[in-house]
């Protein structure tokens, strides 16, 4: 039987990968996918904890999170398209009109 800590460590690694990806990637879509990765890392943690506490709640939360992520994706991709229309680029470094 795999101890719960394994799942948690994996979840933490995935989450950190998401964070790092968000910090170093340049493409808006990739950034967005990094966030999805972070959310899914959390999902893994939820499922692991649900198993630990023998409660179904954690499993259900995952569905909620997935729904929310889907909604976010819809809005996010729309915004990214709008950015592409005004800037004609998806490079996040070029999105820097507003500063100071």
């Amino acid at each position: 039987m795999v101890p719960i800590s394994y799942y948690l460590v994996l979840s933490a690694i995935l989450f950190s990968l998401g964070v790092v990806g968000f910090l170093i990637k340049r493409n808006l879509i990739t950034l967005f996918m990094s966030i999805e990765l972070m959310l899914n890392a959390v999902n893994l943690a939820f499922v692991a904890f649900a198993w630990q506490w023998k409660s179904l709640n954690g499993q259900v939360f995952v569905f909620f999170v997935m729904v929310v992520a889907a909604a976010e994706a819809a809005v996010g991709l729309a915004i990214i398209i709008a950015v592409f229309r005004t800037r004609e680029t998806l490079n996040v470094d070029r999105v820097n009109l507003l500063k100071l």
Partner: protein, 479 residues
């Protein structure tokens, strides 16, 4: 079992959702060239109905939906505040949308959907529900921020808000997962019981820190405030009026619940540091701004800092001080942004400080109104801002947070400088040539401004009632 009374306890949410859906449906049915004003009025009626629902709901305190939602004076306070802000924002949007030539009825729908999320945030006592409510409010505001579709700055503000917002929410969710793992529950009151039972593992602490990120992002507390100036500068002005107040109020409600009701340990120093940082960074950065929206953005960061001072203070008085501050701050900020949105004109042309020069002579009433809000933001007596600061500082002093209060007072003095600068520009400078034209204030905006001025002064002259209500809410929260 779900009973009828459960639905009453989420009545404002239901009302707002129904009106929002109705707006979206009517929007589709309207001919493309038709004015979208009727939709605005529908939204306004919706917010009024939500206010009425809140008042009605006050008679039915208690838990609903298996202990996921809780209606008490605390949540009523925030429901009322948020619905009121939404009403004001709707009123001040009519003219703005005309001026910017934005024809999107869904604008009003999004305001209502956003309000649903915020209202739900303040009454939810279950962390996953809080997360969902947070996302409901966020997603609406992401879209609203980019509503000036043709303006690159607006889109940029939207994408920044979206990316950083989702980023922060992921941390919040991770925190929720960890606290679920540590305590086996996501219900705030059950978490409280477990924690008071003596389970203080490192996981709980980490969870609190991660959740603070998500909330800190929403309230723009340093160091999670970085998005604020850019987003506020680019987003449509009335939306900023909404964004800088209602979600903040809701997020403060969540923070109060997490910190005090769930009795989570060890938040004192992070809050202390965050408060001091927010005040200092916000005020110092505001000093060098030329753009009024950006300046007010930094000012809102600073105000989040003052508010966190109340959090660092002892429980009962700190909570009521924070609630009062939220209300006073929300009113004056909505008002200030309403004036800014009116003055900005088509394409948000006039948003720099120089544009405000000589406004006192060209449009005395508008300038006087803005002056009242600015004085309140400074914290001059007979305005709500004065008592808000006063209560927060006295609560902090009572808890012996002398250093924090000193930092806060010094910061207030710095802040007075840049607010006064606007006032000085308006009254003691001649307008530059050619002077920006000031349109006449339309009736709905006039009503919104009159309401905010009246409410700001009301809180400054007769703070007793609101404060008492807040105290009762606070007492219920900590029990």
């Amino acid at each position: 079992m779900i009973q009828a009374v459960d639905y009453i306890r989420v009545l404002p949410e239901i009302v707002l959702t129904l009106f929002g859906v109705a707006i979206m449906m009517v929007e589709g049915a309207l001919p493309p060239r038709a004015s979208r004003k009727p939709l605005g009025w529908l939204a306004f009626v919706g917010t009024l109905a939500a206010l009425a629902a809140t008042v009605y709901q006050a008679g039915y305190p208690g838990m609903a939906f298996f202990g996921m939602v809780r209606v008490d004076s605390f949540s009523i306070f925030f429901h009322f505040l948020i619905a009121f802000i939404a009403a004001l924002v709707v009123l001040s949007s009519f003219e703005y949308l005309d001026a910017q030539q934005i024809r999107g009825g869904e604008y009003y729908g999004l305001i209502l959907f956003g309000a649903v999320g915020m209202v739900l945030m303040s009454s939810a006592v279950e962390l996953v529900l809080i997360f969902i409510a947070l996302e409901i409010s966020s997603i609406s505001t992401y879209v609203l921020a980019g509503f000036r579709r043709r303006a690159p700055s607006s889109i940029e503000s939207s994408i920044k808000y979206f990316l950083l917002g989702s980023f922060a929410t992921a941390f919040f969710l991770y925190g929720v997962a960890l606290i679920f793992g540590a305590t086996g529950s996501t219900r705030i009151y059950m978490i409280a019981e477990t924690i008071q039972g003596g389970k203080h593992s490192a996981m709980v602490f980490t969870a609190v820190a991660l959740m603070f990120v998500g909330i800190g992002f929403k309230i723009a507390a340093a160091p999670f405030h970085v998005w604020t100036p850019d987003v506020y500068e680019g987003a449509p002005a009335p939306v900023v009026g909404l964004m800088s107040t209602a979600p903040k109020a809701a997020a403060f409600a969540v923070l109060l619940r997490i910190f005090f009701a769930a009795a989570t340990p060890g938040w004192f120093w992070p809050v202390w540091i965050s408060a001091a940082l927010s005040m200092t960074l916000g005020n110092i950065s505001a000093l060098v701004q030329d753009n009024v929206k950006r300046l007010l953005a930094y000012s809102s960061i600073a105000h989040a800092g003052y508010l966190l001072v109340a959090f660092a203070a002892a429980r009962d008085i700190g909570i009521s001080a924070a609630m009062f501050y939220t209300a006073a701050y929300a009113l004056m900020n909505v008002g200030a942004f309403a004036v800014v949105s009116h003055f900005a004109s088509a394409g948000e042309r006039y948003v720099t400080l120089e544009d405000y020069a000589g406004l006192g002579r060209r449009s005395p009433v508008l300038a006087a109104t803005l002056t009242i809000f600015l004085l309140s933001l400074i914290g001059i007596p007979i305005t709500g801002g004065f008592f808000a600061k006063f209560y927060v500082f006295s609560a902090a002093l009572k808890s012996n947070l002398v250093w924090l209060v000193i930092i806060a007072v010094v910061n207030s003095a710095i802040a007075a400088y840049y607010y006064l600068r606007i006032i000085v520009l308006m009254y003691m400078r001649d307008a530059r040539e050619p002077a920006p034209t000031v349109q006449n204030v339309s009736a709905p905006l006039g009503v919104a401004l009159a309401l905010t001025v009246a409410a700001t002064i009301y809180l400054g002259v007769l703070p007793g009632r609101v404060l008492d209500y807040a105290s009762r809410g606070a007492a219920l929260l900590v029990r």
